[in-house]
Point group: D2
Chain length 135, copies 4
């Protein structure tokens, strides 16, 4: 599992006085950046990871003035795709939970490709200590 | 159903050469703004709509240089919550599809409240012409 | 002069209840996109326009709930650079004024290049009707 | 002087392959947040700091994959306004330099108010070690 602290930025708030809902996907992307590095250089030609689906459950408002902790972990490992789960915590409370489905994709062939054993062995090091992988 | 054209903004692209995934939730929010007006003034005290969940399926990359069409419609109408579905089209192709679960909420009482008949009758005018409401 | 209406997006507001200052540069960029097209395809190899400097004067807060009018015009035409001025109006009042200095640049040679007569004649069509070009 | 490291976020890049120009004002705002705290709680009623003007000089492209260092310091201290200068460094090179003019403002009276001695003495601790204040 990866864990990182983000300062809440003032421009990330909205007129309702807390962090706008659309900011959470940005934090989710930022939290998983170290995983992108497993897959090498990203470019329109060589990119190998596609975001296929994003789910976010919003549990509590997130406020300016206190850091958030972003926990990122691999929650499913399929043949050519895998899920990354993300938890956003503030002041000891779970505020939002995300799941991103990523597909390993060959742009030249325009089809998904199996995750290599090397990638699988690296991804499996990033599971959540308390949650086994989903089937 | 609401339908709106957005110019793709250059800052919405990323280094992979197309629109970044995190932009789609922003377009989804912007597309449903007319629905927020049904619920009156939004403020931390009087706000009555909470985003409880967001789902986005990304089907195709979205490019700079051509408008997107954002179609927004009510796809489920529950007791105190409802779903808004959003389709993002570019050049005649469906590029992303979102679903947002919104809850009508009383902040003072800290509990959800039933949608009034007046709200229900306005929301029901915004369904998709080809898709009946989900149960 | 170019003139465009933008709906204020809710995520563009901040906890002070109006549009965050950092949004204005995004509108300024979006307003000048038609000028970018004069310079052909943009890419890290062929890009020919560099933003060298940005100035923004903030005169009044901008609010959610009412469109802004973005007026974009060429205000200086130099040898290899030019200025674009931008005005953000809401409800008949000038809320922010920007100036962007753009340089026509050859990335392979790593130096600025003179604006061609063809480019100059197109840029000069976009001046403000009431303001002659700056020297 | 304040100094902070920011990871470059992937969504902050654009299709030209580097960080979009509009991101720099967001980093500038984030870098000065500790100074906002000197002025107490921010709200539409009690807010006391207005961004009157922003200037950014862009010297070099900023890339994904390496942190930026954001240096924030007070560069002018006037009667009721002051300037904050910001430098964005990456890999030992100055990539962008900003100046923000902030005005201490009474919203009820709708006029600027003098900086108190207490505020001045706190602001003066944040000058740049090598640059005296501007007149």
């Amino acid at each position: 599992m990866l864990e990182e602290q983000f300062k809440v930025r003032f421009y990330e708030t909205d007129a309702l006085g807390h962090v706008n809902n659309t900011v959470v996907p940005m934090w989710i992307e930022t939290g998983r950046l170290p995983i992108f590095e497993f897959f090498g250089e990203m470019s329109p030609e060589t990119q190998s990871l596609i975001v296929a689906r994003l789910e976010v459950d919003y549990a509590r408002p997130i406020f300016f003035g206190s850091n958030v902790t972003v926990k990122t972990y691999v929650s499913r490992l399929g043949g050519s795709s895998f899920d990354i789960s993300t938890e956003i915590w503030q002041k000891g409370e779970l505020c939002a939970k995300g799941k991103t489905i990523l597909v390993y994709f060959d742009f030249k062939e325009q089809k998904s490709i199996p995750l290599t054993d090397g990638l699988r062995s690296r991804l499996v090091t990033l599971t959540h200590p308390e949650h086994p992988l989903d089937a």
